[in-house]
């Protein structure tokens, strides 16, 4: 199955819900793991002579995301950070360092903490949505198949 998918420019991801670890602390642990896996695959292309595809996807990611969203995502997905910072390094040589401050965490203005928390949650959700939209587009992975095991262990988060 995995082989068939990769042959057709698709990808086959597998994650499982866990009884003990991860879930309690991190509401989006599974999503982050999925994103990380996607990014590792993309990063792999760079070193496997598939630079063209790597470049196309990098450009797409940089085009679609705003700085805030990108820094949000990159903060939770280590490999995305690597990908984005290398492609910025490439860009900076051409354009000059105008986007250098991208990895600073953006804080809201004078809002109350509660509003701010809800707003940043929505921001993160939107960023994830966008990320998967890019990932399942024709240029990236098509089809994108996700297998999730042990869904019965999904339960509310304990903060």
């Amino acid at each position: 199955m995995n082989y068939k998918m990769t042959n057709r420019h698709g990808i086959f991801l597998r994650q499982k819900f866990d009884m003990s670890f991860r879930g309690d602390m991190q509401p989006y642990a599974i999503i982050i793991a999925l994103c990380e896996e996607l990014c590792v695959t993309i990063w792999g292309w760079k070193h496997q002579g598939n630079q063209q595809r790597f470049g196309i996807i990098c450009n797409k990611i940089l085009q679609e995301f705003g700085n805030t969203e990108l820094s949000l995502l990159a903060n939770s997905i280590p490999t995305l950070q690597t990908i984005v910072s290398t492609s910025y390094a490439g860009k900076e040589k051409e354009k000059g360092p105008d986007k250098a401050g991208v990895f600073q965490v953006y804080l809201g203005g004078e809002e109350s903490t509660c509003d701010y928390a809800i707003r940043s949650k929505h921001k993160l959700v939107r960023a994830f949505l966008k990320f998967f939209r890019i990932m399942s587009s024709r240029e990236c992975f098509c089809p994108l198949v996700i297998v999730l095991d042990d869904l019965q262990w999904s339960r509310p988060c304990i903060y």
Binding site: D18, A29, S136, C142, V145, L151, P156
Partner: protein, 316 residues
């Protein structure tokens, strides 16, 4: 994790681009553990009713039931290389296996494996003279007990294993469900050296054997990317339970095989505290030895482990 489910639902029903034509999600869950109050049930119901009529979210349910006696028979005949023979010849074994396992396919595989592993008892063996599998039905019926689930069967299996081996399972159970060879080796050596004075070379040699054993005994499976994964979730839970016995056994310097009685583990009150200390140890070993980049990946697991032991230190 509920947030994860909600987000996944959004991702699947995202209609803003044409890209969504190429997404598929396969979710597996235990039907008997998800009732109407479960979050998953609600989300599934929502996705069924909410979806747009123009672009519905296609949901297909596939319900995997237990096997019936004829199916068990089919499976056993294939396993034992008796395809094409008269099914009624194999019927007694099929019926017995069905009685013992309730027709759960995973359970059935473990059961048959166990029969074969106990070859010195002559339950099921490959006869080199006739090149066929031989079995002794009355003896099997006599020597195997009906167990409620795979966990009980695994319990019986754990009882037959060496002390070192059980300890390896325990250490692994502190890690995530997946881990790679260097990682488990690192943690294993650290905890070994902490508890006894073992030279690195010694533990390295025995470690490789143990790891092979774990794979061949089907506790772990090796993934294509070289990582290991627990085959059964209850192996994690179970080896955790056994842990409470360990320090006491070591003090009493038992060198022979460690016979684990799960009942003892259950009544032992300090089991959780002990396990937390072990978790803390493993967390510390990881924290001190991982490369920053690796650490970043496993950050939440490591912090979680460190925190567990912290709490016990404070409470005691």
């Amino acid at each position: 994790m509920v947030e994860t489910l909600h987000l996944l639902k959004h991702i699947l029903s995202d209609r803003t681009t044409t890209a969504n034509q190429h997404r598929m999600m396969v979710g597996c869950y235990r039907f008997n553990e998800v009732d109407e109050t479960h979050v998953l049930y609600k989300i599934l119901q929502e996705s069924r009713t909410d979806s747009d009529i123009k672009m519905p979210l296609y949901i297909t349910d596939i319900c995997a039931q237990n096997l019936t006696v004829p199916q068990v028979n089919d499976m056993l005949m294939t396993l034992l290389g008796k395809v094409g023979d008269d099914p009624s010849d194999n019927q007694p074994l099929a019926e017995l296996s069905y009685k013992r396992t309730g027709g759960n396919p995973f359970f059935l595989i473990t059961f048959v494996n166990m029969l074969q592993k106990n070859c010195h008892n002559h339950l099921l063996w490959f006869d080199l003279g006739t090149f066929q599998w031989k079995l002794d039905i009355p003896r099997i019926a006599e020597q195997t007990a009906a167990t409620d689930n795979v966990a009980d069967l695994m319990e019986q299996k754990l009882n037959l294993l060496s002390r070192q081996f059980v300890k390896l399972l325990q250490v692994a159970s502190c890690l995530d469900t997946q881990f790679d060879r260097p990682l488990i080796k690192l943690v294993w050596q650290r905890t070994e050296m902490a508890s006894r004075t073992l030279s690195a070379a010694d533990s390295s040699a025995s470690f490789d054997d143990l790891l092979d054993e774990a794979v061949s005994e089907m506790f772990w499976e090796q993934l294509p990317n070289g990582e290991f994964q627990c085959v059964h979730d209850h192996v994690k839970g179970e080896s955790k339970d056994c842990l409470s016995l360990q320090p006491r056994r070591w003090i009493s310097k038992l060198t022979s095989r460690l016979l684990l009685t799960l009942a003892e583990a259950a009544i032992s009150l300090e089991s959780n505290a002990d396990f937390a200390i072990r978790q803390h140890q493993v967390g510390r070993a990881l924290f001190e030895n991982l490369e920053p980049r690796e650490l970043e990946k496993a950050m939440f697991v490591v912090v979680n482990l460190l925190n567990k032991g912290q709490n016990t230190n404070q409470s005691t």
